[in-house]
Amino acid sequence: MIKVNSTTRKILIPLFSILAGFLVGAIIMLFYSYNPLQAYGSMIQGSLGSSVSIGETLRQATPLIFTALGFSVANSAGFFNIGLSGQALAGWVASIWVALAFPNLPTFVLLPLAIIAGALAGAIMGAIPGFLRAFFGTSEVIVTIMLNYVALYLSTYLMQDVMPAHFRTSQDATKMISHHATLHVDWLSHMFGDSRVHFGLFLALIALVVVWVIMKKTTLGFEIRSVGLNPFASEYAGMSSKKTIIMSMVISGTLAGLGGVMEGLGTYQNFFIQTASMSIGFDGMAVSLLGGGSSLGILLSALLFSILQIGGLGMQTGAGVPFEIVSIVTASIIFFVGIDYVISKLFKNKDNANKELPKTPIAKEVVTEEKDAQEGGRL
């Protein structure tokens, strides 16, 4: 057991998890006779080796930052938002729709309008499960999973049957948005070898700061954290847990919606039929959990995920490792982060090594019993 202080511990645990994940990946590659060093080499090469690959990595990280932030806000309020995919999809469709509806408005009007439309659509999608849980006690897990499907098929329906026909080039895709609505900026793209990195990157960085401010500096953030940690004490102190849960889901949905906007107005510049829930929704959850829910952590883990995903393509071409193996490496990293409780045992907290409260239910019962017994004991 290594004794370290709590800050070092917070950094060491995810680092160790990542390392363990890479190690497992290497073992698997060795098992199938691939050279792990060469494979990891081409992963780095593919994701960070050139300005264009760096650009693509940053582009990949942009929506992940938004969805991960969305997950962390809801999670702080004790709400497990699995509906990020659907919320992102809603944002994507709404932003493209607005962009196509008013192609000739000036950029400073149209771009914000399209972004706000996407954010709003995500917010509404997020508010629904929040509202249902607050007022009817429904399980957010089931509702958000189901809403992912609703969003998925609704998006197809909206595009094929509701959007004006002249928005589409085929039954499967819309037209490209006009340059008044795009997040693409030439200088940024040029800087990274004409990659698809776009202005959304800066919006993502701003979002990281804004969410940090909301959660740590405002009364709303205080309420969200308090309700998430102890809804009973929060109600007692006059907070409304209903209102707080709905607000946290509105913020969460807004952020996820913006994640979808990044894909629409940034990466793809149009909308096309989706056959499965958007992966940025699920990856965002993993990024948020890996990053410990903090803004800095989310930034770093979003970058890591992007390196894995973009670099994974490089592994395929550079070292001939199938993309499935890359998925295994990613999965094992998430796995090791998931069991960070085990890894945290390695690094004992120096600050309060002896003060830790009993955590098992059995120990808790004993404590309660002891308390009750003392109470009676003095009568």
Binding site: T219, L220, S240, E369, L379
Partner: protein, 513 residues
């Protein structure tokens, strides 16, 4: 060795949780064919002792004898096989199953893996008839009354061959008629040769049902008496005891206007069953009104209704002449109410947040701690530092997580936060539960200081000492109703004990003659 005098003998049972002894050298001797009551206040150690007997807890030291032979009961299964069965207070039944299915659960009679349900039904019907239990083995648990569910529990223990039955507070959930029936059933069981241990703190039931009674207080055996030869007062005195009282001197109350007025208040508990059944009382500024009573007689629901945490069914709650029934907690708080909740870790604090944040839990949304929706952590820390100093909260600094403070300091933090808001009505529930003597005295002094400063204080406590020492008037809550109102200087702990156990003041007066 008296081989057959006692069916169960527990000798010098000690059960320690860390440094604390829930049972300290407890003795219990149960004769075959008797109903033996185990009497004690909440937390006196009754449940711990019975958990030891039924194999849920292992004693730190001591020995259990069954029919004179030493036995080691290290699991509930072992207790079962020795013929010790427990009828739990909270029924362990599955609603969707029939009575038979519930009873055979875990020991299903089967032939080649196929459950022989008809044989089981027949056996259970026979048992039910033999002991006059009147249970339909084919009925679904969800469809039968609470009383019959309890009888199904009794059948379960009998079906498994129990010879000694432990009843854990069996009447807590029953109607008066069902209680009568239960006592009849228990008498039938002992007539058939079974032995019963009846855990309770209700004196009337003991007098009606039990042959002998062992009293436990503070984890120690006080004594065993023949019920026929003991009065209710004797039992109450043994149960409550005369512990050291450190009375804090207080001036006569200077009464001001009425701050809290409660009229015909009805409140339901979580399951929709009435818990507060028509309560009227008022608290004037400058006095402490104590509410005494045994746990579970409507106190929790009453406080939750007064503080807005629970909706009322009917009645009026007037705080400083404002109607505040069913108002939101914050509205009530802002009317001028401070509340020290019963469960400090669940309601009073957010344990993972810092002490400073917890101290601001009621005021974070107002200036100076926040402005325009933004928190000023500097101001929050200043506020915390001031309270830490004024209320003597022992902590390394204001950034420490509340969960890392000791119980006494957690309570001091809540008291500091609530009293600092200068509210006119202060509602405190179990303010000294689980605290050491020093912290208790500190909290008592604070409450008296508030009263002397002209505040109205409503004190809810299970601890008679506390009620007697602090209150200017005492009302006793029993079964959701006010059983009586007394003054501490003219009442005795015995009288209070009897009122708490459900006797009316008229009955109490009669027994005193």
């Amino acid at each position: 060795m008296a081989n057959s005098e006692y069916v169960i003998e527990m000798r010098k049972i000690t059960k320690a949780f860390g440094a604390f002894k829930a049972n300290d050298q407890v003795d219990l001797q149960v004769r075959p064919g008797e109903i033996h009551a185990l009497l004690g206040e909440n937390g006196a150690g009754k449940s711990t002792l019975m958990n030891v007997l039924s194999g849920l807890l292992e004693p730190t030291s001591g020995q259990i004898y069954l029919n004179g032979k030493p036995v080691k009961i290290d699991s509930p299964n072992k207790a079962n096989s020795l013929g010790i069965g427990m009828v739990h207070q909270h029924f362990m039944l599955i609603d969707a199953f029939t009575v038979t299915e519930n009873i055979i659960l875990g020991s299903e009679p089967n032939r080649g893996g196929v459950i022989n349900i008809h044989q089981a039904e027949k056996d259970i019907q026979e048992l039910s008839d033999r002991y006059n239990l009147d249970v339909d083995p084919t009925a679904k648990v969800a469809d039968i009354s609470v009383g019959m569910q309890q009888r199904a529990e009794i059948l379960k223990t009998l079906y498994r061959g129990a010879n000694v039955l432990i009843f854990d507070e069996p009447t807590a959930v029953l109607t008066p008629q069902e209680i009568e029936e239960l006592i009849e059933i228990m008498k039938n069981l002992v007539k058939e040769g079974k032995s019963i241990i009846l855990i309770t703190h209700k004196l009337s039931e003991i007098r009606q049902a039990a042959d002998r009674c062992t009293v436990i207080r503070r984890g120690k055996t006080i004594g065993t008496v023949e019920v026929a030869g003991a009065s209710s007062e004797d039992l109450a005195t043994m149960m409550v005891g005369h512990s050291v009282t450190f009375k804090i001197p207080k001036q006569p109350a200077k009464l001001g206007p009425t701050t809290l007025q409660v009229k015909d208040l009805h409140v339901n508990e979580n399951r929709g069953i009435p818990a507060v059944k028509g309560v009227d009382f008022s608290v004037k500024s400058g006095e402490i009104l104590g509410i005494a009573g045994i746990d579970g007689n409507g106190q929790t629901e009453l406080i939750e209704a007064l503080t807005g945490l629970r909706k009322i069914v009917s009645g009026e709650i007037l705080i400083k002449n404002h109607e505040r029934a069913n108002a939101a907690p914050r509205k009530i708080t802002e009317t001028g109410v401070a509340h020290v909740p019963e469960d400090r870790q669940k309601y009073g604090l957010v344990l993972q947040l810092s002490l400073a944040e917890n101290l601001a839990l009621q005021t974070y949304y107002r200036a100076p701690i926040s402005e325009h929706g933004f928190l000023d952590y500097g101001k929050m820390r200043e506020h915390a530092k001031r309270l830490i100093k004024e209320y003597d909260i022992r902590t390394t600094n204001e950034q420490l997580r509340a969960g890392e403070l000791s119980g006494g300091n957690q309570q001091k933090a809540i008291i500091a936060r609530e009293l600092d808001r200068d509210a006119d009505l202060i509602i405190v529930a179990q303010p000294t539960r689980g605290l050491d003597v020093g912290a208790i005295e500190y909290i008592h002094r604070q409450l008296i200081a508030q009263r002397d400063a002209g505040k109205a204080v409503l004190l809810i406590s299970f601890e008679l000492d506390e009620i007697m020492n602090l209150s200017d008037r005492i009302i006793v809550l029993h079964d959701g109703k006010i059983a009586g109102e007394v003054r501490p200087e003219t009442t005795t702990e015995q009288e209070l004990g009897l009122l708490m156990a459900g006797q009316t003041q008229a009955e109490t007066a009669k027994e005193e003659i």
